[in-house]
């Protein structure tokens, strides 16, 4: 270690925008996540992949045997498993992203004190938030890839367009992760996090995941269509068979807006989230 000189003790201000919140070092947060996963969390990673696959096996094959075929997005008949598989992928993208950006962030903030020690370095809260969101998306990407491979192995994929489900699932995860982190900035206790689950479960069950929207009376249909999960389910379902329309663009736009709103909210709430 070298001697500290007087000249070292007069710092110059950084004039870039966001200098108080951002040090352009998202990479360090990502590296930390990868090293930690390698050291401690590999098992948890695998469980996140297995869950939607179990649903697909149980409902697709089990229930599917009773149901037979249903009408797909382009009007042709497809197997029940092929009908629900894109929906299950959407749900898993939502669950993973929300879990990472709410529970996980809350725990690392208040219990593991991980962010505390990151924020005592030259990292700013924006570096931390972007790094954590990137890690959530990377995880979402790996899960989506794995799930798509399982779908292919089960013979549920009939077109190359279905590969687009992977980036689309990442976009869906981005939408939920950015909103989720904004929400976490308002959360004070673990009990309040239960509300997140309270909203996720009915969305999972009723967003045309297991049956078409047309079973509902019209007002309910409008409600479901306002919620994000339905747009994700429909988007992936269309991609899975390569059938596109105006609605495909609407679904995509919904998530692009969700990312913009979520990232704006998260950035505005960074001080509330990280600097108390």
């Amino acid at each position: 270690m070298s001697l500290v000189r007087d000249a070292d003790l007069q710092l110059t201000a950084d004039r870039r925008p966001f200098a108080s919140l951002y040090s352009r070092n998202v990479r360090a947060v990502i590296v930390r996540g990868l090293v930690a996963t390698k050291t401690s969390n590999a098992a948890i990673m695998i469980s996140g992949f297995v869950e939607p696959v179990l649903y697909l096996l149980s409902m697709g094959i089990g229930l599917g045997a009773l149901i037979g075929t249903v009408q797909g997005p382009d009007g042709t008949e497809i197997s029940y498993a092929a009908y629900i598989a894109p929906a299950l992928l959407t749900v898993s993208a939502m669950n993973g992203a929300l879990y990472d950006s709410t529970m996980n962030v809350f725990f690392k903030m208040n219990y593991a004190k991980l962010y505390q020690n990151m924020l005592y370095t030259s990292l700013g809260p924006l570096d931390v938030a972007l790094g954590e969101i990137f890690l959530a998306l990377l995880r979402g990407f790996l899960y989506a890839t794995g799930f798509t491979i399982v779908m292919a192995a089960m013979g549920l994929i009939t077109t190359w367009w279905a590969l687009l489900m992977v980036p689309a699932a990442v976009l869906i995860a981005f939408g939920f992760a950015s909103i989720g982190m904004g929400i976490t900035s308002y959360i004070r206790t673990f009990q309040q996090l239960d509300w997140v689950t309270f909203i996720m479960l009915p969305m999972f069950l009723f967003s045309a995941t297991f049956y078409p929207l047309s079973v509902y009376p019209e007002p309910i249909q409008w409600l479901i269509q306002a919620l994000p999960l339905w747009h994700g389910v429909e988007l992936l379902r269309q991609l899975s068979v390569g059938s596109f329309g105006v609605m495909t663009a609407v679904h995509l736009l919904y998530y692009v807006l969700m990312v913009i709103v979520g990232m704006t909210l998260t950035t505005r709430r960074l001080r509330a989230l990280f600097l108390k």
Binding site: S20, N25, R32, V35, A112, K113, L114, Y120, S122
Partner: protein, 313 residues
């Protein structure tokens, strides 16, 4: 400290305030720390020491006043200020998901430092913290003293110019404390400015060139340990025990001996220039305490005098 007067100011706090709702944790305190000084914040739990440290690090937003660290406001220039700051928080918040050596390297990457610098630096610091043989251990397998040493090693990864230490030796055994003090002395010799909070008097006396005594968010006194003792206490203290029920009664009988008497639940403190002489005078009055002890005045006495309370309750 004649050399410190000409050196630049590293930390300047003016009317620094932090409120949580109705509660004022730090109440308009002002102080300056010149380069190379070892500066202490002494006070009981809840005095506002840690909150002050967090504001210096820019991880807690102040409610009022101004603060300059090496010329910059840590709230506006957090990343830039913290690039040259080392922080040892009160609780070891080591990364439990990483191994010991990775704790140092990953932490160094938060500063944007390259691996070519960090790898040898991590080994040097493991040696400094006497943890070389634990490099690949898990953090949870370390003893309390080892964790503390690792936290301190981690705070040095960026060669900080200012080191913030929040209760650095709490929970360490005496031997570990002395090792740590030695390490801190060496840093000071290199010109690192040390800011530390403590509620241990001996630590403050050993380590601090100058300190502020803080209670309920306010500064009660400021000065070097010896100056504070001179100003607020006597050279020596005579501690007398008469037995739990009789201390208060004995206080009246002792009245007039020494400069001042303090009655604590378990003992009497007689503040006097010459403790032995005071003890003799007490014997001459026919009083026979169960035990007696003459010691030099410490910062504990200063604190008692200033606040009427002990530091550690």
């Amino acid at each position: 400290m004649p050399q410190t007067t000409s050196r630049p100011t590293v930390i300047a706090a003016d009317q620094l305030t932090k409120r949580y709702g109705d509660f004022t944790a730090v109440d308009a305190i002002s102080f300056e720390v010149p380069a190379g000084e070892s500066f202490g914040l002494l006070g009981p739990n809840g005095a506002g020491k840690s909150t002050t440290m967090r504001m210096i690090g820019g991880v807690s937003q102040r409610s009022g006043g101004t603060l300059r660290i090496m010329g910059l406001d840590p709230e506006e220039q957090g990343p830039e200020v913290r690039a040259h700051l080392g922080v040892v928080p009160q609780e070891d918040n080591l990364d439990q998901e990483l191994k010991v050596r990775d704790n140092l390297i990953v932490y160094g990457r938060y500063f944007g430092l390259p691996l070519s610098y960090l790898r040898p630096k991590a080994d040097e610091l493991l040696d400094f913290a006497q943890l070389t043989d634990k490099a690949n251990a898990r953090v949870e397998d370390l003893s309390g003293g080892m964790k503390r040493r690792l936290t301190i090693a981690r705070s040095l990864i960026n060669d900080p110019r200012v080191l913030l230490l929040d209760e650095p030796t709490t929970g360490l055994d005496p031997q570990a404390r002395h090792i740590l003090w030695d390490r801190l002395f060496r840093l000071k010799e290199r010109g690192v400015t040390l800011i530390l909070t403590t509620h241990y008097m001996d630590e403050a006396e050993q380590l601090c060139d100058r300190l502020i005594v803080v209670d309920r968010g306010r500064i009660m006194a400021e000065g070097s340990p010896s100056a504070l003792i001179r100003q607020y206490s006597t050279r020596e203290v005579l501690e007398l025990r008469f037995g739990a029920d009789r201390n208060a009664g004995a206080a009246e009988a002792v009245e007039g001996i020494g400069e001042r008497i303090e009655v604590l639940p378990d003992r009497l403190l007689v503040y006097a220039h010459d403790g032995e002489a005071a003890l003799e005078a007490i014997g001459n009055r026919g009083l026979s305490p169960l035990t007696s002890l003459v010691r030099r005045s410490s910062l504990e006495d200063v604190f008692l005098r200033l606040t009427g309370r002990s530091l550690i309750e």
